[in-house]
């Protein structure tokens, strides 16, 4: 197991280098000097901030040297400071001479996005697994057909449109739920229970919408996995020796059918992080997605590069955890018999 983990971690190094190269390449995509783009789109960019940009990315040095210096700073997780938001540090808090702590932008935004996505994932899985099992057991019956129809709609519905409709119905017409932000104005005056309730009502729509749109893919996956497993010989054996159907499905088949789900959840991470842009923008949630979107609008390059890198690193980390979990759950993978 340890060998497997070491191999798997070492394997991430070329990927990290590749990601850094692509991020670096994008940064140099802008025609001419990126400080020109900055000045062109952001009238606030003064000559002083352009000079800062040049220093930050060493734009006066050869490209190879620029890349090397940039990598050095990345290795220390130093993404510099935002141009747009009063020089706030991009990633983590810093202390100035008087000991005042300024929190990092990603440091503040990341927990919110993680909370929303983890809650969403829990809801998705707790609905998708039962639905997938029903669809597989009632394959070609009406239950399966209605779940399939639902899946097709789930695949095709634009998440932001669903957000608008629910926002209109629950927030505007009925006034049941708040439609923006994560706290009410009177948040600080509430007691603990009130605070939790307030946050939950604010998070309800942002969490439920990605869950509904993500449901289709996972349900389909559970159904197909279950169908594959139910046709294998050991299931026939289990049935032949007289086990009841319930035991066959839930004790024998389910474990093997759900194994590949670990990988799928790992692979879904970049989509979840990227998908947070639209949802967080609509509901004005101050998470990674909104931070990134605002940075794009203001051409705030340090923030863009910082989120791009941290987002990719999180994806790699998620895949690593998924692979390790898979190896832990399936001895064939960690012994290298089959590829996970």
């Amino acid at each position: 197991m340890l060998n497997y983990i070491i191999k798997r971690v070492l394997w991430m190094i070329p990927l990290l280098i590749g990601i850094s190269l692509i991020s670096f390449f994008i940064m140099h995509l802008a025609p001419g000097d990126i400080t020109n783009t900055e000045a062109g789109f952001n009238p606030k960019a003064s000559e002083e901030s352009r000079q800062k940009l040049r220093e930050l990315y060493n734009l006066d040095k050869p490209v190879i040297v620029q890349y090397g210096l940039w990598m050095q700073r990345m290795a220390r997780l130093d993404f510099g400071q935002s141009f747009a938001s009063h020089q706030k540090p991009v990633f983590w808090q810093t202390k100035d001479a008087e000991g005042n702590i300024t929190k990092g932008m990603i440091q503040e935004a990341l927990p919110i996005t993680l909370l929303i996505n983890i809650l969403g994932l829990v809801i998705t899985l707790s609905l998708a697994i039962p639905l997938g099992i029903i669809a597989a057991r009632k394959y070609t019956h009406w239950q399966d057909k209605s779940i399939t129809l639902f899946n097709f709609i789930g695949f095709s519905i634009p998440g932001f449109w669903l957000s608008l409709l629910l926002m209109y119905w629950l927030g505007v017409v009925n006034n049941w739920l708040p439609i923006s932000g994560i706290h009410s104005i009177n948040y600080d005056s509430l007691d603990t229970l009130g605070k939790i309730k307030d946050t939950l009502t604010h998070l309800f729509l942002p969490v439920i919408i990605p869950s509904v749109t993500g449901l289709a893919g996972i349900t389909m996956f559970v159904k197909n996995g279950m169908l594959d497993v139910l046709h294998q010989d050991y299931i026939t054996t289990a049935r032949a020796k007289g086990l009841n159907e319930h035991k066959v499905v839930y004790t024998h088949a389910l474990r093997n059918a759900l194994l590949p789900l670990i990988t799928i959840v790992g692979l879904a991470i970049p989509g979840l992080i990227g998908g947070s842009v639209i949802a967080e923008t609509i509901f004005a949630i101050p998470g990674m997605g909104k931070l990134f979107f605002d940075a794009v609008l203001m051409r705030d390059f340090p923030v863009i590069m910082g989120i791009l890198t941290i987002g990719s690193a999180l994806t790699l980390l998620g895949n690593l955890i998924a692979d390790i979990a898979y190896a832990w759950a399936d001895p064939r993978v960690r012994r290298g018999v089959v590829k996970g």
């Binding site: 634009p158 932001f160 990227g274 863009i304 990719s312």
Partner: protein
């Protein structure tokens, strides 16, 4: 794909339903100049935010423009962006996948690591970052979506090539002295076409969704040019007063994407011989 396969594909009810939906959407979009009741860019200050009526079937927007007309013209943009973006990603995917699967060795390793790297970067972030450095326009949107969604096709083509490469008919042709190009284009590619077509059709669904999302955020198709996504931006703006601005464009996106998904999945089921076994 030969005639028999084509017949088989359309005998699938799913694929047929998708095909009909897509054809209708294309028909409406192509006939836009003839059937649109108004000029899509015609601003009418006397008709701002009117609800659906006989004069304006889908109401009017914040500038008094007819929503139905904008929907018809916007459909042309959304359909075009979807097709061109997938054309680009499929072309890249076929070229890289063919090279990786045919030549194997270090080229294969290099291309596959590039795929892994691209898959690790959250694609919506990547697209937004690139657009941040370029200016949003229809052409740029198509290119950027295309350049960030070729990884699936590459893996697919490579896998097909790897499995076909050792088959007798390919080896026989090679023994007879066929050049690499002939092997690739005459023998391997035509035999890998079915999964490529399926993945391209499903890819268009994703690209249409992506374009509408970008346009919704204001980073895609720019006003005054209409697209389903940027009509929805107005929908959000006026959500308290004008539900029709949100409802209709979203329905159009849903129906179009649903059509492509039905067609793609239907083709997959109809053309994949393995799917017959499972009853």
């Amino acid at each position: 794909m030969n005639g028999a396969l084509f017949k088989k594909a359309l005998s699938s009810r799913m694929a047929l339903a998708g095909f009909i939906i897509i054809s209708l959407v294309f028909l409406f979009a192509m006939l836009a100049p003839i059937i649109a009741p108004y000029d899509p860019d015609d601003i009418n200050v006397k008709a701002i935010l009117l609800g659906p009526s006989w004069q304006h079937w889908m109401g009017t927007d914040g500038l008094g423009r007819d929503v139905l007309s904008r929907m018809l013209y916007g459909g042309r943009i959304s359909l075009l962006v979807g097709l061109v973006a997938v054309g680009i990603s499929t072309a890249i995917g076929i070229i890289l996948g063919a090279i990786a699967g045919f030549y194997r060795g270090w080229v294969d390793t290099l291309i596959m690591r590039l795929v892994d790297v691209m898959l690790s970067i959250p694609s919506f972030f990547l697209i937004l970052a690139v657009i941040a450095f370029l200016t949003p326009s229809i052409i740029n949107i198509m290119i950027v979506i295309g350049l960030t969604s070729w990884m699936g096709v590459t893996r697919l083509v490579r896998a097909e090539f790897l499995s076909l490469r050792g088959r007798e008919f390919v080896l026989a042709s090679q023994t007879l002295g066929a050049k690499d190009a002939r092997l690739i284009f005459i023998h391997l590619l035509p035999n890998s076409l079915t999964p490529i077509i399926v993945s391209a059709v499903l890819g268009v669904a994703g690209a249409v969704l992506m374009e509408s999302g970008l346009s919704f955020l204001g980073l895609g198709v720019q006003a005054p040019q209409a697209s389903w996504g940027n009509i929805l931006t107005d929908g959000k703006e006026y959500i308290q007063f004008a539900w029709w601005l949100s409802l209709f464009p979203g329905m159009a996106i849903l129906v179009t994407v649903l059509g492509y998904n039905l067609l793609g999945e239907g083709l997959r089921d109809a053309l994949d011989p393995r799917s017959d076994k499972r009853v």
